[in-house]
Symmetry: C2
Subunit: 417 residues, 2 copies
C-alpha cells in the first residue's frame, strides 16, 4: 500500500506519456497514454501512483498530514520542459522594433546600438543582483505558465569571467525560483567585440581556457555553438564541440536558422544531443538527424518573428522520424515565456497535432535537456505537473494562451505561489 503525502483528485484526464521509448519519434509522438477520471498520488516529491480514481482506495493510503487537492474535473499534464532559452540577460531590445519595421538591416540596427552585442554590453555591465532579479522574474512567469524545467544558456558575456559568472548564477536562480534549470555553455554565441575579425582566435580562447574552466567547475551540462555565417563556421563549431565532448559535456548546436550552412550535418556526424532552429534544414538533413538520433529542438516563435515567410519545420521533422522537442528561445530578440504559446505555434504554424506538440514539450524536451525521467508521469519520476481547468488534453496547442491553474514541481506547488 502506497502512503501518499499529496493526492490530486477529480482529474478528468491525465497525460502520463508513460509508455514507449524516449525520445519519441514518428507515430509514438502522438501517444499520450491518457488515464481518464484519474487520481494522482505523490510521495516524497515523486509520483507514487496514477490510475483511475475508482482504484485509488485499494492502492493508496494518505500519510498523516497529507494534502488532497482537487483538479476540479480539469486535466493534468507533465510540467513543460523548455529546451532552449537565453533567459540570462539584462535589459531589453524593444527599441529595435520600430527600426525593423522601417526596413533597417541587421548591420544598420547594430550601428544604431542594437543587436546581440548590445545585450552583451548590458549583461556584462549588470551586477549579479540585477541579473538574478530580471532573469528570476522571467523564470517565475515561465513557471506560472507551466514550465517546471528550463534549459538556460550563457552567451551574453563572451569572456572568461563573465561566462563563468553567468553559469554560476544558474543554480542560484533554480533555488530562488523553484524550477529545475539545465545550464548550457554558449560562449560561442557570437564573436565578441574584442575579437572582431578574429573568430579563430576566439575559438582558440574558448577551447584553450574558457571551456576547460567551465568543465572543471562543473558549471554546464552542455556546450552549444551558433553555427551560422557571420558567427561560427562548421569547422570552428566542430573544433569547439569535439573539445566539449572530450571534457565530458553534452553538445548542442544552433543550426540552419537563417541559411543552410551545414550545422545539422555536423550535429548528425557528432551525434549531438540536439540541433536547434533548423528552419532551413533539408530533407537530407532530416534523414541524417533521424539516423543519428539527434533531437530537433524547434523554436516556432522565433521562426515566426524572424521572417514573414518562415515556419518551424515541425511536421517535416516528425514525418522524417526525427525526435522533435520544443523551446521558447526566450531572449531579448524573442521575448516569450509561455510554453503553451510555443505549443500553439508548433500546432498552428508548425503543423503538429496537439498530442505531438505535448510530447515535444515534455518527454522529448526533457531528453534534449539531459533530464532523463522527466516529462512523463510514471511512478518514481519527479512529481512535476500542471493542472489546467479544461477537460481534455487536446486543448493544449489548440488554445493560444492556455494558463495552468496550478503548477507543481517535485510535489510542491510553485504556482500560484
Amino acid at each position: 500500500m502506497i502512503r501518499a503525502d499529496l493526492l490530486v483528485t477529480d482529474v478528468r484526464e491525465v497525460a502520463t506519456l508513460a509508455r514507449g521509448a524516449v525520445p519519441r519519434t514518428g507515430a509514438a509522438m502522438g501517444e499520450l497514454s491518457l488515464v481518464h477520471d484519474a487520481a494522482i498520488a505523490v510521495a516524497g516529491g515523486r509520483i507514487a501512483w496514477i490510475g483511475p480514481a475508482r482504484h485509488r482506495g485499494r492502492a493508496v493510503r494518505l500519510a498523516p498530514g497529507a494534502a488532497t487537492v482537487s483538479a476540479d474535473a480539469g486535466v493534468v499534464v507533465p510540467g513543460f520542459v523548455d529546451a532552449h532559452t537565453h533567459v540570462l540577460f539584462a535589459g531589453d531590445r524593444a527599441f529595435e522594433l520600430p527600426l525593423k519595421v522601417a526596413g533597417a538591416s541587421y548591420p544598420e540596427i547594430v550601428r544604431r546600438g542594437g543587436g546581440l552585442l548590445a545585450t552583451v554590453r548590458a549583461t556584462r555591465a549588470a551586477p549579479d543582483r540585477r541579473l538574478l532579479r530580471e532573469a528570476g522574474a522571467r523564470l517565475r512567469r515561465m513557471a506560472s505558465g507551466g514550465s517546471t524545467a528550463v534549459e538556460v544558456k550563457s552567451g551574453y558575456a563572451l569572456d572568461l569571467p563573465g561566462e563563468l559568472r553567468l553559469l554560476r548564477l544558474v543554480p542560484r536562480l533554480a533555488r530562488s525560483v523553484g524550477v529545475s534549470l539545465v545550464p548550457t555553455f554558449l560562449g560561442a554565441h557570437a564573436v565578441p567585440e574584442e575579437y572582431r575579425g578574429r573568430a579563430d582566435a576566439y575559438v582558440d580562447r574558448l577551447v584553450g581556457h574558457v571551456l576547460p574552466s567551465v568543465a572543471r567547475e562543473g558549471l554546464a551540462r552542455f556546450c552549444d555553438v551558433f553555427c551560422e555565417p557571420g558567427f561560427f563556421t562548421v569547422r570552428q563549431s566542430e573544433r569547439l564541440l569535439r573539445a566539449a565532448l572530450g571534457l565530458g559535456l553534452g553538445i548542442k548546436i544552433h543550426a540552419e536558422e537563417f541559411v543552410l550552412s551545414g550545422g545539422a550535418r555536423l550535429a548528425a556526424r557528432l551525434r549531438a544531443t540536439s540541433a536547434d532552429h533548423l528552419v532551413c534544414a533539408t530533407a537530407d538533413d532530416r534523414r541524417r538527424l533521424a539516423a543519428a538520433g539527434v533531437t530537433a529542438v524547434l523554436l516556432p516563435v522565433t521562426a515566426l518573428a524572424a521572417s514573414p515567410r518562415r515556419r518551424s519545420p515541425a511536421r517535416e521533422m516528425v514525418d522524417a522520424g526525427v525526435p522533435v522537442a520544443l523551446g521558447s528561445d526566450c531572449s531579448p530578440n524573442t521575448w516569450v515565456e509561455s510554453m503553451a504559446l510555443v505549443l500553439a505555434l508548433a500546432v498552428h504554424a508548425g503543423r503538429l497535432s496537439p498530442a505531438e506538440a505535448l510530447s515535444a514539450a515534455t518527454v522529448n524536451a526533457a531528453h534534449a535537456s539531459g533530464l532523463a525521467g522527466r516529462g512523463r508521469l510514471i511512478p518514481g519520476a519527479p512529481a512535476d505537473f500542471s493542472v489546467f481547468s479544461f477537460g481534455s488534453v487536446d486543448q493544449l496547442g489548440y488554445r493560444f494562451d492556455a494558463v495552468p491553474v496550478a503548477v507543481y514541481r517535485q510535489g510542491k506547488r510553485v504556482s500560484p505561489s
Copy 2:
C-alpha cells in the same frame, strides 16, 4: 481642484493617446502622447486628471475614503478594445487539428463532423446557462489580459430565435464579467443547413425577418456579413448591409480572408465602419478603404493559423493611410483571448511598430467598435486602463505574453478580481 476617488501613483510611463484625430492613420498611429513619472486621478469612474506626479498636489485632492494604488514604477495603458470576436459559442473544435495536420480538406473536416456548422449545432443545443458559463470564462480571461471592451458577434445560431437569444445574452455577460461588450449581428456568418444551396432565400429571411427583429429590440450595434466564396456573395452582402443601414445599424464586413472577392470594395462603397481580415486585399483595396475612412480590423492570429504563408497586412494598411484596428477573432477556430499576444503578432508578423500596434488595439479598436471616447486616457473618458509591471510602453508588442498586474474598468478593478 479635482476630488479624486482613486489615485494611481508611481506610474513610470502612461500612454494617454490624448492628442490627434480619431481614428488614427499614418504617422499618427505611432504617437502615444506619453506622460512620464505620472499620476492618474479617477472620479466617478472617469479619468479626472493625468499629469506629471509633481503637479498632482496642485491639481488633485483626494475625496474622503479615496483609494490610492501604486503602479510600482510600471506603465499604464488604456484598456484594450478587442474589435472582433466570436466568443459566444459552446464547445470546442480541437478535434479538427489532427485532421488538418494529416492534410484533410475543409469539406472532409465537415464530413467528419467539424467546421463552422458543427459549432452552430453545439451552440443551438446549449442552454443559456452553459453559454453564459463558457463565454463568461473566456471574457473573464480576456479581461485579466487587459481587454476592457470586447466586440461580440452572434452567428452560431443562424435562425431567428437563436440569433436573438445570443444577442440577448450579451448584456447579461457584460454585467456578470464587468467588461463593456458591443453586440454585432452576424446572422450571415454562414448559410445554415436548413437553407443549404439557397443562400438567396436565407438572405431574404435575414432581411425580411431577422434583421428587423434585431433592430426593433435594439439588440445589436452593428450588422456584419461573411463575404467569401461558399458563404455570401458581394451582391448578397450588399443587400443585407444596405438593409442594416436602413434600420440604423452600423455595418462591418468579413472581407478578403481566403481569396479576393470584392468585400473590401463593397466596404469602401458603403462606407462601412470596418472591413475585417483583409489578408488578400490589394493595393487598390487599400486606397479605397483609406479614401472612404473604413477601419481595417486585422486579426493576425487567425491569419497565422489559417495558412503557413499568410500574414495580416498591417504594415501595408498603415502605409496606405488606412486606420488599422486589432481583434483577437476568438472563436472555436482560433481560440485566443490575450490582446497582448495579438499586439505581438501584429508587430512580429504584421510589421507594426509597438506604438502603432497599441493605437490599433485601443483608440482605433474603440472607433471600429462604435465606442467613441474609449481607448484613450483623457479627462472625462471612462477610466478603463491596465497596469503592467515593466517600465516602458514599448514592451507591449515586443513581449509575446505580457500580462497586466491590474486591470481597471470605469475606475473599478476587474482583474485580479
